[in-house]
């Protein structure tokens, strides 16, 4: 029997999904990138232009939108991280009902963003349940839904992101050999010191990966900020939608998409810089 070289076999096996993603993911992104410079654009004359970027950076609302998108990426991610780290540590302990809690905390993973937004509305909108519960005891809840600081968006996004981050960080913490932590303890480290000096550095690849993916999710989010966010500024994702489907301004949409992707790529590069040093230290592949 004739045997194909392994490289050829691998290429044939990768082809279906690789080709699919090239066609329906790579190509559209490439076209959007080119379109942002006026090349091969729908409804454009096909000549190279920086007009769309000039439009993007020359309009106050879009500049603010870019800043606001970044804000919606960073703040919920930091909030989720602050909750996920202790949660992951807690879930790793032994306690009654551990299995149940380990399944329950993941529920928001499968709750759609719109439902999360709806839940925040029922609880925190004016006249929501939180206000009804707190007003009688003299606490006047500030505006949380459609407020200037997008607290509602942050709550809904973080609510969805916490289980995701906890799952990934918990996996990284769990992969650390127990003996390594015990070794630190016998050498004089308190539980807290062992956590900061041993567990956190060793779990850093997982922590940064969780951070990165939550960050990107927050930056591209469309539904939640649209439902819970302030009237001004609007995040770039909402501007993209409006310009694409209500104003048919595809060149500008492409420029906005390219800018958002650029920020994602920058964060991704920062991620690789952070984890590369660890990668060399471990030897083992960090994935």
């Amino acid at each position: 029997m004739r045997r194909l070289p392994q490289g050829v076999v691998a290429a044939l096996l990768v082809l279906p999904s690789g080709g699919y993603l090239a066609l329906f993911f790579g190509l559209p992104l490439l076209l959007a990138f080119l379109g942002s410079f006026g090349l091969y654009a729908r409804g454009g004359d096909g000549g190279f232009t920086l007009r769309h970027y000039a439009d993007l950076f020359g309009t106050q609302a879009y500049r603010d939108g870019l800043v606001f998108s970044t804000y919606l990426a960073i703040v919920p991610t930091l909030v989720s991280l602050a909750i996920s780290l202790p949660l992951a540590m807690g879930l790793a302990q032994t306690f009654p009902g551990r299995k149940l809690f380990n399944a329950l905390y993941k529920v928001p993973l499968v709750v759609p963003g719109i439902v999360a937004a709806f839940i925040v509305m029922t609880l925190f909108d004016r006249g929501g349940l939180a206000a009804r519960l707190l007003t009688p005891i003299g606490i006047d809840l500030p505006k949380i839904v459609r407020d200037d600081w997008a607290v509602g968006v942050i709550i809904a996004t973080a609510w969805k992101a916490v289980p995701f981050m906890t799952l990934i960080i918990g996996g990284s913490l769990g992969a650390i050999q127990k003996d390594i932590i015990l070794a630190a303890r016998t050498l004089g480290a308190t539980p807290l010191t062992a956590f900061w000096r041993i567990q956190i550095p060793l779990a850093l690849p997982g922590i940064t990966a969780a951070f990165l993916l939550t960050f990107i999710g927050g930056m591209g989010a469309f539904a939640v900020p649209n439902l819970l966010g302030p009237v001004y500024p609007l995040p770039l994702s909402v501007h993209m939608y409006v310009n694409a489907f209500e104003r048919n301004n595809w060149g500008l949409v492409a420029a906005m998409g390219t800018m958002l992707s650029l920020i994602s790529v920058l964060v991704l590069l920062a991620y690789y810089r952070t984890t590369r040093s660890l990668r060399t230290a471990y030897g083992g592949e960090v994935r």
Partner: protein
């Protein structure tokens, strides 16, 4: 000066007993080995001294100081793990220096002590490497340096050589013994390898099912074991009833009860071919420095080891005479 005293220590996991109540004292500078099959409680015992596992009852004292309220980081105990447990994100020097850093020792003084500890284990040139860049033997020595640099009251070693190949194991065994004697540190060494235990220990504690079966200096334990378990666990032996032993033409009588058992080490049986010999070679195994025979004598099968150089190897079926080089050793409490 560090003496360790365990009194009435016991530990159970649910209904299974890990350690039955026991007392144990380790003298200052002593090299004690805990020897036993896996699951005998030896590692549990050691982890209780380190403070990683808590005893259900009893007291652990180091130099008279009760350890009960002290977490591992306050016990000043050096522990070498079977897996080495080196910190993968730190260099060799940082690994060794970790305990000193935790003790708040000034950077310069710590660096000097790290250097000295690495020199002791011959690893000075590798100080800047990461653990994964080292061989197994080198990693083991880093783990050892990391445990001794803190000048622990007691050095605990949990099967530290079991992940290494045989040659390296023997080599490191000698180094370890020399180092311990040079530092005069009290050491407790856990192993299931009887050869390792005999080579290293001042005193061996033989454990089984959470109990101390027998203890003593390696020579005494090997030559004059009191129990069948110890006799069989340390090296090879033939355990036969005294009545069966009567088949052998030894000169002196056997001490002990007439219906008891005796232990006869294979190397204590001399095998000589004799046409009218009472024994017959059932099978033989060539071991290099020795030949091991399985010999049938009046229905009892004995193992005999002949290490005489230059003697002929006796083929299967040869009729042989057996003589004992030392009297058979009586065992207590077994029928």
């Amino acid at each position: 000066m560090s003496q360790i005293t365990l009194t009435g220590i016991a530990k159970a996991y649910g209904t299974s007993v890990a350690i039955a109540p026991m007392d144990l004292t380790v003298a200052d500078g002593e090299f004690l080995t805990l020897l036993g099959p896996s699951g005998c409680g030896k590692t549990t015992l050691m982890r209780m001294i380190a403070g990683i596992t808590l005893p259900d009852q009893g007291a652990i004292r180091i130099n008279g100081r009760d350890m009960a309220a002290l977490p591992p980081e306050k016990r000043n105990v050096g522990l070498v793990f079977q897996s080495y447990a080196l910190f993968p994100h730190m260099t060799v020097a940082a690994n060794v220096g970790f305990g000193l850093k935790m003790r708040g020792i000034a950077r310069d003084a710590a660096a000097e002590r790290v250097r000295a500890a690495l020199a002791l284990v011959d690893l000075e040139p590798l100080a800047a490497r990461y653990p994964r860049e080292l061989s197994g033997g080198q990693q083991q020595r880093v783990a050892l340096a990391r445990a001794i640099v803190i000048e622990p009251d007691v050095l605990l070693l949990d099967e530290p050589l079991s992940n290494l190949d045989a040659k390296l194991r023997e080599h490191l065994r000698e180094d370890l013994r020399n180092l311990q004697q040079r530092l005069r540190v009290t050491a407790i060494y856990v192993t299931h390898d009887q050869a390792e235990a005999m080579a290293l220990a001042d005193r061996i504690i033989v454990m089984d099912k959470g109990r101390i079966v027998e203890e003593g200096a390696p020579v005494d334990l090997y030559r004059a074991p009191q129990t069948r378990f110890a006799a069989e666990f340390l090296g090879q032996t033939n355990v036969v009833a005294v009545t069966a032993a009567g088949l052998l033409p030894w000169n002196t009588g056997v001490a002990g009860p007439a219906d008891g058992m005796v232990s006869i080490r294979p190397e204590d049986i001399a095998v000589t071919p004799a046409l009218d010999g009472a024994g017959r070679v059932l099978s033989l195994t060539f071991l290099g420095p020795a030949v091991e025979y399985r010999i049938d004598i009046g229905g009892t099968v004995l193992r005999a080891r002949d290490s005489g150089t230059g003697t002929a190897i006796l083929p299967q079926g040869t009729q042989v005479d057996l003589t004992l080089r030392v009297p058979p050793h009586p065992l207590q409490g077994v029928a």
